[in-house]
Symmetry: C5
Amino acid sequence: MGSAAEDELRSMGRGVRTIRRTVPGVKDLPVECKKLIDEEGCELVMALGMPGKEPIDKMCAHEASMGLIQAQLMTDTHIIEVFVHMDEAPDERQLEELALARTREHARNAHLLLFKPEALRAQAGTGQRQGFRDAGPVEGRSAVYH
Amino acid sequence: MGSAAEDELRSMGRGVRTIRRTVPGVKDLPVECKKLIDEEGCELVMALGMPGKEPIDKMCAHEASMGLIQAQLMTDTHIIEVFVHMDEAPDERQLEELALARTREHARNAHLLLFKPEALRAQAGTGQRQGFRDAGPVEGRSAVYH
Amino acid sequence: MGSAAEDELRSMGRGVRTIRRTVPGVKDLPVECKKLIDEEGCELVMALGMPGKEPIDKMCAHEASMGLIQAQLMTDTHIIEVFVHMDEAPDERQLEELALARTREHARNAHLLLFKPEALRAQAGTGQRQGFRDAGPVEGRSAVYH
Amino acid sequence: MGSAAEDELRSMGRGVRTIRRTVPGVKDLPVECKKLIDEEGCELVMALGMPGKEPIDKMCAHEASMGLIQAQLMTDTHIIEVFVHMDEAPDERQLEELALARTREHARNAHLLLFKPEALRAQAGTGQRQGFRDAGPVEGRSAVYH
Amino acid sequence: MGSAAEDELRSMGRGVRTIRRTVPGVKDLPVECKKLIDEEGCELVMALGMPGKEPIDKMCAHEASMGLIQAQLMTDTHIIEVFVHMDEAPDERQLEELALARTREHARNAHLLLFKPEALRAQAGTGQRQGFRDAGPVEGRSAVYH
C-alpha cells in the first residue's frame, strides 16, 4: 500500500516529497504520524493499515482512528486514514486489489486537499467509494463530504 | 448540503461571511473545522456529512463526532454537526429532502447561537426535529436542549 | 428543566448568581459549558438535556458526556450533567415529573458541592436516586459516590 | 468504602495524610480527583465508586474511567480506580463485603505504588483478584500487571 | 512477560538500558508509561498486560489502550502495547507460551523501531502474528502495517 501511495502521489505531476515509515501495528500509527508532522515537517500524512477480521482487530482499528483524529487536532494537519479491513473482500487477491485501489484514490484526494482543495467539492455527494466501483450519487460508502 | 447551509445563513438577514471547504470523508472534518477556526478566524463552523448505512460507517461517524467535540473544546468555538445517515430515509429523494431540511434548520440554529442566543430558549423542550415534521413537545429526536 | 434548576439553586438560601444558555442539541453542551467557565467565570455549570430513545440518541448522549468530562478536566471545574432519557418514563407527564425532580436533586447536590461539600458525605452509599423515590442503601441507580 | 481506604492506608505504618471528598456521581470523580492533585497537592488519589446494574450505569462507569485515565495523564499522577459494580455480588451483604475487601486491597497497592513500587513486582502475574479469594496464577480477573 | 522483554531487548546486541515498573492493573499503565518518558527519559516503553476474559476486562483493556495512545501523542514517543487476553489460549500453559512469544516478538519490533526502523518495512504486509505461527501474507491477525 505504501508503494501505491507514493506512486500515485508522484504521478499527480507536482514535486511532492514523501517520507515513508513502517510501524508494527495500526495502534502505533497515531504517534508515528504525529512525529512525521512534528519532527519531519510533513504537511500531510497518509496512514495505511489493514486491520484483521476479529472483533479485537475492529477495536484496535477504532482506537487507532480515535488517535489519528486526536493527532490531527494537536497539529492542525490532515492525516488521511486508509484502512482496508481483511473481511472487506472474499479472497486474498481481491483484498489486495481493493487495498491498492483505495490507497490510490485516497492518495489523489490527499493531493487535492493540499494543492487543489476546491476540486474536492465537485466530487462531494456523488457517492464515490474508495476502491470500489462508484455507487452513484448519495449511495457511496466513503462518499466525499463537505 | 453546503449550498443549502450558505443560502439559509444568508437569508437570515445579516452580513454573514462564509468560507466553504470540502474534505474526502467525515473523519477529515474535525481537523478541517479546527483549521477554519484557527487559521481563518471562523466564529462558528457547520460540519455537514452523510455517513453510510454499514456498521463501519456508524463507527466512523462516532469517531468524527468525538473529534468535533474535542475541536470545539480546544477552540472554545461552536461546531454545529449536521450528519444525515443514509438509512434515515427510505429512498434517495427523501434522503435528499431530509438532508436539505435538516441543514437549513441547523443553519438557522447556528445563526441564532451567534447573533440571538436568547431566542433558542423559546424552542427548548418543544421537540423540534431537524428535518422532520415537528413531533410535538418532549418527543422530538433532535430536540433543542438547555 | 432550566427554570427548575434556577429556582432550586435560589431556594438554597445563598446569593447564587446564575447565567442560563440554550444550545440546539446535547452535543453542543460541552463547548457551551466550557465557554461559561472560561468566558463568564462560572464556578460550576449544570448541563441539562433530554436525549431521545433511539440508539443514535444514546450515542449522542455518550459523546456529549465524554465531552463534558473533558471540559471539566480542562477547566478544573465541576459540570453537573443532568440527562433524562426519553425512555426513562412510560408517558410524557411522568417524564416531565422525572426531569423536574432529577433537576432539583442535582441542583441541591451542585449547591452542596460548591458551598458545603462535607454534607455530601452523609448521603454517600445511601442509594438516593435522582428523581426517583429513594431505593434504600446500596441499590440506587444514581447513588452518591465517594 | 472511603473509611476502609483511609483505615487501610493508615494501617500500612507510614505517615500518610489523607483528604476525603464526596461527589454526587461517578462521572464527577475525574475532575474532583484532578482538583485534589492540582489544588491540594495529593500525590495519589483513590477513586471509589459503586456503579449500578443497568446498561446506562455501565456506560457512565466507562465514561468515568476514560476521564480518570485522562486526568492521570494530565497530571502525571496515579489515580487508583476502585469501582464495585452492583451486579458483582448476589446480595447486598456480599456486595458490601466485596466493596470493603477490594477497597482495602487497592489501598495496599496504592501504598506500595507510592512507597515500595518494587514490591508490586512480586505479585505480578499471580492472579490476585481484588476483593475475591485469590484465583491462582494467570487466572485472576484483576491480576497485577507489569 | 517483563523478564522476557528485557531478555529479548538485551539479546538484540546493542547497549539498551531498561527500567522496569509494575502497576496494579492495566488501567494504571498509561500514566506509568508517561512517567517513564517524562520523568525517567525513556525513549520507548513496552506496556505488558494480561486482561481477563470477562466483558468488563475487555472494556478495561480498551480504556487502557486509548490511554496508551493518548500518552504517546502527548510525548511524541512510542509505547508498544503487548496485551495477551486470557481467552486467547485454551489452557494456562499455552497462554503462558503465547504471552512469552508475543512479548519477544514485540520486543524485537520495539528494538527495530528505535534503531533500525527501515527493517520493519520488509515485514510489512507479510501477516506475521505476534506469538502465533506466521499465517502467511495478508492474513495475520497482528500484521505489520505501514
